[in-house]
Symmetry: C2
Subunit: 427 residues, 2 copies
């Protein structure tokens, strides 16, 4: 991590993106602005967040993985070290970071221990103290209430852990106000945040292309995963992936930079050449994706986009000879869900939940007379056992539509060109 | 993971090592044999171990890292899935594995759910049931006592978590007998285990060579780490490292295969060519390493080997003009610890604790008249700020000495040859 005095930032070398600490300062500003609009807002409130800790494998002293910051803490402070706390005076906007105090003897293994002043400059906060000073410092600052982060993660059904420390009992705390407001702030991305998401997408897209170029029949899925990971880390400074790679009949892989995620799925034949049947299915999915992309803009309801994707999918499957009958009638019996068993998508930063493959649903549909009448069973059976197709992109809703952040080969022609090493046709 | 009916095994492709499930069956046999020698042993005892679970990042639904089995459970059963339990009837040796029952709808994402019979064959155990059957199955088997695993990990100071399940209160349990015995069993490696350690070393050694060949001044440490990780995973099927890579002034990096670790440090100049001063320090460390390797054999006490390494190191530093005086006098004031602040080594499978760099200790020694009189301060100062040198190999004590598992270029000549791309002189 390099920091410059002119503009504190996170950067992993000239070839990687410089993420300005102003991004996090701006997030803090947005958070305070929203908090003040809350009818429950009281003066002299102080936000207190607890950062993540590293975790060891079971009873051993080996880290499970390189440390990755807790997401709310990262959004607010952009701090990459474990064991921190952060406080924000809501009235003044003044931010205090509390860092771990390293025992003196760590100098042998870590080199010179950096003083608080170093972290104050690195993270562009107003003050840096040690965690062991947290309680007395809060006593001194004497807030009316500590706003702590407690709330449900609707994807995992887990609850965030509110900040805790010895002596917190002497403070008035509020566990309810902060979570919905900070969560909503996270939904709306600033331009600085989109820039990081764009970079995460750029590098992950390149890594998908590396996989396409190097894939050969007989290779193991994990070898493709390894290529992806290596490219993202070595060329993009992306040490973590946004989720464990899913390398099966499709490649659902995305890396994160400074905790900002990408989430991209590519589906292509190992041979480098689509059969006519593969083209039929692939294009059905791609056209559904592109129809939604073209129609996306502020104010468009999500369910409407989901129905649009199902409609395009069903139309193409009908053209491809897998389905018969009226599309509107198919929509009424939810036939789309048989072929697209997952949601249309999800907000970025909320991670992926599902992988492809849906033969069981087709059996259920064949057994359901309301749906079965639309299905050409014999034609459908030709596609069994081939896994699924997914075309997953990352987009930002902008004032006049949607910006596509992902830049991987998508059409059959583009994919085949990349896989045969033809750079001229590459996207 | 491929399994053959002839010999169940863990394998990640033709190019990777086949680890026979007989290894774990043999571990179970050795464990029972040792338990029966214990004065506390009673009949109708049953060992019950709980396998590891996957862990999510904070409140999210994203796994922190790909699942890695708990080490005691792996040693006993070799099972790569999370959420399992395993029981062994100590009288009969009969083993039962309890696996997670997947909800039926998981078929959409996972494909056909494998039945218990599949796992019985895959892991070569006597019986496979579901975890939700554990309590009633144990009631039926009615053991006199359940031997659970509870004990201190002396490296982390953490305590292993004994198996737990709803209803355990109705059984007599023993938390004391198992831990010291299974820990001691793990110290002594079977031939089958050494074969896996040898493989882990072979692939990690190759990966170190790839780093040496590709290192150029100006590269980032994390790019070297990424190369290492990619080689181990893609060519060796090693998805996990034994510990987070330490890529600084030296490369302390080791990957694991089927949970069996390697732990290798290489130190070399980024330029590919040692200066005379670098040679002096490097050879002092290498010769200390090699002296210990040559002297290691069954029955040799660890402290004696530690003293031998310090003696060689001090002798070479004296020859190199950094020290003056009598070596025996230096040994009396523990001068070796100033230059080698960590232990001589550690048992394999217990993970690494320390990184290089020791200028602080030298300042303390310079301030200590008992040690300072041996030091040529000016000459020593020439080496400040250059980080440390470590030569870390993995060895097995065999009846007539020690086998070196690590196979990386070690002499100055070998390292320089590899770094200039000369394969003829490669080790």
């Amino acid at each position: 991590m390099a920091t410059s005095r002119a503009e504190p930032s996170f950067c992993l070398g000239e070839h990687t993106l410089k993420v300005p600490m102003a991004l996090f300062k701006d997030n803090r500003r947005r958070l305070i602005e929203r908090l003040k609009l809350s009818p429950k807002f009281t003066n002299r409130a102080m936000i207190l967040l607890q950062g993540g800790d590293s975790h060891q494998r079971y009873c051993t002293d080996v880290d499970i993985a390189p440390f990755r910051q807790e997401s709310y803490f990262h959004w607010t402070f952009g701090v990459i070290e474990p064991g921190c706390y952060g406080a924000i005076n809501v009235d003044t906007g003044r931010s205090t970071l509390y860092i771990e105090r390293m025992p003196d003897e760590y100098v042998i293994w870590l080199g010179k221990i950096k003083p608080p002043q170093y972290y104050k400059e690195k993270y562009n906060v107003d003050e840096v103290l040690y965690v062991d000073e947290l309680c007395t410092d809060l006593q001194k600052k004497d807030p009316e209430v500590l706003l702590l982060l407690k709330g449900l993660n609707t994807d995992s059904k887990s609850v965030t852990k509110p900040a805790g420390f010895d002596g917190i009992g002497q403070f008035k705390t509020d566990n309810e106000m902060l979570h919905p407001i900070i969560a909503e702030c996270r939904v709306f991305k600033s331009d600085m945040e989109i820039e990081v998401l764009r970079y995460a997408n750029k590098i992950s897209s390149e890594a998908h292309k590396v996989v396409m170029r190097n894939l050969k029949p007989g290779m193991y899925e994990y070898q493709a995963e390894s290529l992806f990971l290596h490219h993202c880390y070595s060329y993009g400074g992306m040490r973590h992936v946004s989720y464990t790679c899913i390398a099966g009949s499709l490649f659902d892989m995305g890396a994160e930079y400074n905790c900002y995620a990408s989430d991209i799925t590519c589906s292509f034949p190992a041979s480098g050449k689509f059969t006519e049947d593969q083209k039929t299915i692939y294009n059905a999915v791609l056209h559904a994706n592109r129809a939604v992309l073209a129609a996306s803009k502020p104010g468009v309801p999500w369910p409407e986009m989901h129905r649009l994707s199902e409609r395009v999918l069903l139309e193409e499957l009908k053209t491809g000879g897998l389905l018969q009958g009226d599309i509107n009638d198919m929509m009424k019996v939810h036939l789309g869900a048989v072929f697209m068993p997952h949601g249309l998508g999800h907000l970025m930063g909320i991670d992926v939940h599902d992988v492809g493959g849906f033969p069981e649903l087709i059996d259920a549909a064949l057994a359901n007379p309301e749906q079965a009448k639309f299905l050409y069973e014999q034609r459908i059976n030709q596609f069994r056992g081939t896994g699924g197709v997914r075309v997953e992109d990352d987009i930002v809703i902008i004032p006049d539509g949607a910006e596509l952040l992902t830049c991987v080969p998508r059409t059959v022609e583009e994919i085949e060109a990349v896989m045969r090493g033809d750079k001229s046709e590459e996207k």
